[in-house]
């Protein structure tokens, strides 16, 4: 019996690398979740309308709040009220609609085609990620691969694939960008064209990531920090090219901000105040007054932009003129800097939600599945459940975590510089970028959106935490914390 198990293990080792193993595992787990009825995904929270209208899709039946809509209609004639919508998400949606037309129907769009497009990209990214975190084919590497799958293919993230939220793109590109950099670090294993491909993949993924929506544009900074690790091994020409590419990255972020829909910007702006500053300040009227705003607006505390039953509508021109247009991001930042206690409370609020990655406010199943309204899936959500339950929910902890990682990998980078091992330097750059994401992500979410929909706004924080923990795990398991792995082992 024991021999048979060993024999089977050998066979797996021979035919299936840890990366392929992870892809297989994730393919089964995710495939069941996304494609086998009852299909699961996140239901609409009101944000789909723009994406649908822009891509010529429409709801065929009455809206069923709390339930996933599995099929949409495809507009047959010129769509003359397509709203302006700039997002890299469009690439995926357009591809999915094309595939749907080719293989399924010209009039009905099955959202699973979108899921398929996303899922294939995701599996590719997962393959690279596991490749980057494992080395060799020892049993330990398969365990590592399984852990990676549990982390990245957790349903809380995959559920985005059957919906029109931009987070699906974040999940894929965030994985691919970091994986590409980590693989580059081991570039002695790779041929020149592979290296060039990896650099391109990194730049492409980071570009898509920062242009998904305006709020992620700030993350361009994190990815620039990550890319700085490439510098030591670049030629002069390479450095210039990289500099150009990074400038493009910043530009992509800026374009995403500039082309954000004014309506959405107003919504976020209003809620950054009503569900941010006003919510946590003990005396919000005073804060408004000292900021040059009519203190009576403190009475809008806790409301949202589209809330029904308010005494005054945020859409009215006076509300816009005397409240929403009276403050900008600088106003908010100034306020938070001068009220560190309030800021701390808001950040703790964010920290509390950072690891609660499964969006509980919307349902996961279609109405036809027979499950209740807002029913949640529990399939393959072990990792997110554990993180949500046990991860310390304090902003201070995230700061300390980032400091700890920086310290740890700075030691490695110092060694790397002395021993001329670029990989250690690069890893430090990646860790620094990820740590930066933790902080930037939470600060932006709180300043820009207050406490609304934190699970979605903090998506990149959760992913960066996962990456940091996995990198540490991989380094500890492989003993590569302070030294590069011997060349050739990876193959």
């Amino acid at each position: 019996m024991k021999r048979k198990v060993t024999q089977f293990g050998r066979m797996v080792q021979q035919w299936c690398s840890p990366a392929a193993f992870a892809v297989l595992l994730a393919g089964v787990a995710g495939g069941i979740l996304l494609f086998v009825p009852p299909v699961a995904g996140y239901a609409d929270n009101g944000g789909f309308a723009r994406v649908l209208a822009h891509h010529g899709l429409y709801r065929t039946g009455a809206a069923t709040p709390g339930y996933l809509t599995p099929t949409y209609g495809i507009m047959q004639y010129f769509n003359d009220n397509a709203p302006a919508f700039f997002s890299s998400q469009s690439l995926f949606v357009r591809l999915a609609i094309g595939l749907n037309r080719l293989l399924f129907s010209w009039t009905v769009f099955d959202v699973r085609f979108l899921a398929a497009v996303y899922f294939l990209c995701f599996l590719g990214a997962l393959y690279l990620a596991v490749q980057a975190l494992t080395s060799g084919r020892a049993l330990r590497q398969y365990v590592l691969a399984a852990v990676c799958t549990a982390v990245f293919a957790d349903s809380s993230g995959l559920l985005y694939f059957n919906s029109f939220y931009g987070q699906a793109v974040l999940l894929i590109t965030g994985m691919a960008a970091v994986a590409a950099l980590l693989l580059l670090g081991r570039s002695r294993d790779h041929a020149a064209w592979q290296r060039a491909g990896l650099v391109l993949l990194f730049l492409f993924s980071a570009g898509l990531l920062v242009s998904v929506n305006a709020e992620n544009s700030g993350l361009a900074l994190s990815y620039i920090v990550m890319a700085l690790g490439l510098l030591p091994r670049l030629t002069r020409a390479g450095k210039i090219v990289l500099g150009g590419a990074l400038t493009t990255l910043v530009a992509a972020g800026a374009v995403a901000i500039a082309l954000a829909s004014p309506e959405l910007a107003r919504v976020d702006h209003y809620q950054s105040m009503s569900r941010g500053v006003l919510l946590q300040d003990k005396n919000p009227g005073k804060a408004l007054k000292s900021g040059g705003i009519n203190p009576q607006f403190a009475l809008m505390r806790g409301t949202t932009y589209y809330q029904s039953g308010l005494p005054a509508s945020p859409r009215e021109s006076d509300m816009q003129r005397f409240f929403i247009q009276r403050f900008d991001d600088m106003w908010l930042l100034r306020y938070y800097v001068s009220h560190p206690v309030v800021f701390g409370r808001m950040l703790d609020l964010a920290a509390k939600d950072a690891q609660l990655t499964q969006v509980k406010s919307v349902g996961d199943y279609p109405a036809a599945s027979g499950r209740g309204k807002n029913a949640q899936t529990h399939w393959f959500t072990g990792f997110s459940t554990v993180m949500g339950t046990f991860f310390p929910a304090k902003f201070a902890f995230y700061i300390l975590l980032a400091a700890f990682f920086l310290l740890l990998y700075a030691i490695g980078a110092y060694q790397g510089l002395r021993q001329d091992q670029d990989w250690l330097v690069m890893k430090f750059a990646v860790v620094a970028g990820l740590s930066l994401t933790l902080i930037i992500g939470m600060v932006t979410a709180v300043v820009e959106n207050g406490d609304t929909n934190l699970a979605q706004h903090l998506f990149m924080v959760a992913q960066s935490t996962d990456w940091l923990l996995l990198i540490l795990l991989s380094d500890v398991a492989n003993g590569t914390l302070f030294k590069a792995r011997p060349a050739g082992v990876a193959k």
Binding site: K282, N283, P284, G285, K286, N294, P295, Q296, F297, A298, L299, M300, R301, G302, T303, Y306, Q307, S308, G309, L310, P311, A312, S313, R315, E316, S317, D318, M319, R321, F322, F323, F390, P392, A393, K394, A396, F397, L400, F404, L407, L408, I411, L481, F482
Partner: protein, 526 residues
Amino acid sequence: MKGSAGVLLLAAMLFGLWGSGRPVHASEISAAPRVLLVYDSENRQAGGPEQIDALTRTLASLNISVTRQTLLSYRAGTLTTRRFQGVITMVNWPQSRVTNAAYTRDRQAFTGRQLHIGQNLAGDEQRALGSTAQMVTHKQFQLQDPATGAQQVLPFMADHWLLLPAAAGNIGRLDEQGGPRQYAFGLIRGRQAYLPMYSGSGLTGLLSTRLLAQFFTGQAAAQPPVLTLTGVTPVSDLPLLRQTTGYLRDQGIPFAISATMTAENSQLPEHAAYLRTLAQAQLDGGTIFWQVPVIYAADRQTGSMLQRQFTAQISQAVRAMVYPVGVSAPGYWQFDTAFSTALHRADQNLLLPNPTTYTLGRGAPTATYAPGRRTFTAIPWRGENTLTGTGDLTFTSPTALTLSVPATAKRLQSFRRQVQRWPDQTWRSLTDDTTAMTLRAGRHRVTFSARQYQVDGQPATVGLPAAVKAAPQKAATVATGVNRFTRWQGLALLIFILVTLFILTGFLIYGRRIYRNQFRRKGRKP
């Protein structure tokens, strides 16, 4: 046959149930004439929805119960003298030439009062009016009101106008600009009446209302309007609001305020400050109307949500010596059962023009509205500035001339200019009202009669509540055992993990040194 009888019985029962579900005030229904309003199209481009809204609000202010329908949805047999005392045919889109044979037949057989508004006057209607209509094109007219001497130049009409020659007894006269011809504006002949156009404001509105009052209620006594401040919300600029009401007090002008309220965030000093300002407005001679909140999406819960908000807000207001005596709402609130229930919680209503910033969603639409005891219809005061020849506007139905409360010092200037523009205007004072008007909010009943507010039957004092200082109150920390534990364990875990990680890092570095020393050659290098 048997089956259809059963269906009919069921329908009758349902109808009966539906009827009994609405709050009905015996005093108002018996007198209120019922009128059917049939319009051909909304014709959004030409501002049709606003006109229909203004017309229904005016009818409500005349205490007329109105049922509105489009021409195409009219079903044969609807228009009978048993159900309706009158019918209004409104043509908003003459080019469309929409017809409904069933409606034409029923209307011709109808012996009640018939009013036609707009073009496409049918042959039998013309005959009933007793004169032949003339088609007039490309003319500009001056509208005259011989009764008061008011006049207004109407905008140039490139459209075709179907007009009847002026005759004795017509309401308003149209004088051709630069020509000798005169036409009738409103015309009543027996059971038939005609209006060439409709608009809620200006002299046309004034004359149309007079015609509607004369034609459907038989009386057209002139009454002064109520000056009403609109746009008053908890987030208004309070110092400016105080200045405004103080100014009106100094001018000796009685006024009403249509104010929204909130029961949320009542612990904030701004909440008390708002109610205090309303109490001040009351002292300045103001009467408060409770304005309904902004409803974007109406559904089954809207009715109960409205009731909850209303009860909570009124009881907070009463505590702060603010006594709302009526309910004000946008016009479309008439045509929804949940909304009209909210209106009927007060004897006195104010119907405002429909908002334009959001779609007017109704959860339980209905076609009929039976107005309460007294309904004011709102007309923007600035719209009346085009009138000349009179300094004192009177109306034939309870009317509120509205001005939005100034939000900047500049707008306050313009507010004052508007008041000074009409120095001779007389105003109706609701505080001198002798009829008892009641508002019912849960267990509270606010009544106003003979200059005295009463809450739940007890006389209530009008005054200013004590000003609330912005005292930094400590947020009550309700920490249950579990709560405290989770908070504590989060911190403990944080410290524990950090300490462990630091120790591990130390070990890692230390162990590495040992490991490396194993390979280091002892002694001096060769």
